[in-house]
Amino acid sequence: MNELEVKLIDDNGIRVDGRKLDELRPIKMEVGVLDKADGSAYIEHGKNRIMAAVYGPREAHPKHIALADRAVIKCRYHMAPFSVEERKSPAPSRRELELSKVIRESLESSVMSELYPRTSIDIFIEVLQSDGGSRCAGITSASLALADAGIPLREIVAACAVGKVAGKVALDPSDIEDKQGDADLPVAFMPKSNSITLLQMDGSLTEEEFNQALTMAIDACKRINQLQIEALKRKYVSVKEQAEERHEPKEATA
């Protein structure tokens, strides 16, 4: 175990996948990837492959869960059986139930749910392939799907984890760094209002290490937030181009 841990960071401070300590894994986002859902987004964050979909605001089911002064937000974080090394039972685990709750809570304050009383906004997050930090990538994509559904948001929520790898605070731990690392600190953040909406930690950190890690996480969330905004813009540019093509068909060459 210890021998492996030493290899997680080499003498030049480079990590197993060639990253620096404050470097994110490659991230790709795409908005509006599903046909039936009111809003959807797909994210590739490292080896994470996550699909998020939003339905609503729609009639709340069962009816008694509806709230008189706001929309109910429902959230399901779920991992596909094939998303991990050993097949996972499709039944929701205690981990998935807890994450569904904290992810919902991380998105609640971003949604203007008071505009849609008695309705339900349903968020589905399917982890198709899991790497480290899947709850964070799930939040990043779910917030995009909410925006894509046209639901008024105060801000888009971005999320990223920070870990402690081989004794050093390292941004965005991958699967192996998460499993063999000494700590994991997932953070969800809204930059304009300086709001931390998700914060969890396990492992061992001193107060100084925590403060350093939190600064790193917030900085990364700001970068991810930019990527989210670009992904949203890309969709609307492509929609506009398609519409223009439909209305002004190119002159047929005779």
């Binding site: 869960i65 709230l67 706001r70 929309a71 109910v72 937000i73 429902k74 959230c75 399901r76 205690r94 981990r95 139930l97 807890e98 569904s100 709750k101 904290v102 992810i103 919902r104 809570e105 609640e108 304050s109 749910s113 339900s120 349903d122 600190l185 809204m190 209002s193 300086n194 709001s195 931390i196 909406t197 998700l198 914060l199 969890q200 930690m201 396990d202 492992g203 061992s204 950190l205 001193t206 107060e207 925590f210 403060n211 939190l214 600064t215 917030i218």
Partner: protein, 273 residues
Amino acid sequence: MSSTPQLPPVAKVEQKTVVDFLVKGKRIDERGLTDYRSIKIETGIVQKANGSAMVHLGKTKVLTGIKIELGQPFPDTPNQGVLTVNAELVPMASPSFEPGPPSETAIELARVVDRGLRESKALPLQTLCIEPGKRVMVVFVDVYVLDHDGNLIDASAMSALSALITSKMKEYKVEGGELQTKDEPVPLGVKNEPVAVTTAKIGGNMILDPCLGEERVMDSRLTVTSGSDGNICAMQKGGMGSFSDQEVRQAVKTAIEKGKEIREIIRGATART
């Protein structure tokens, strides 16, 4: 599927009272902003359990029973004993608790307590292995919430730790392929003392140990669990609101300090037995 909870309606005047007090630096039960309610810990309540502890945190009551049995290790950790934490929100504890499968609140509570114990390495799981890959000790921590007057996480963590510290178990050895045991039970040998400290945020004010009246109007909470070495071993933000980064840093600092005080209370209570 997790959905926005339907909380019993809170009267505007109730909310206003809590906030008005906080603005003046006071609380509805006359405590200071970083004061805990009185903490009383009784151990050895349940003789049939390997260890037990009842924590009274103000009017909140949590009983934890420990059962230690022989069992099999998980395939990925053949050399380690097993730690299982479960929490029951007993229906008698609150009008909002109902019988049935564990709610997401109960699961979150159990997992936050579990994380504190596991990540601080409070239990020497290696020494709980009898025969690698075959026989290990399995430690069941069952947290029983009996009366809910707020801050279940901190009360449950105190109760689970106190029960584990005072737990005794049979010692097993394998000699010549035979399982042997001694009559005299031995302590479990707890190595670290993780203490959870929960900060609640109400209208921009930060307080420790929210009672139910305060929890009902809080925006969000942050639990920070720290070990005997003062290091943070687990954290959990809950509730639908948010914290600024300065608020989080302040909460962490306060929680580590307060954790030391609570640890002394737990040491005092568990040393008696």
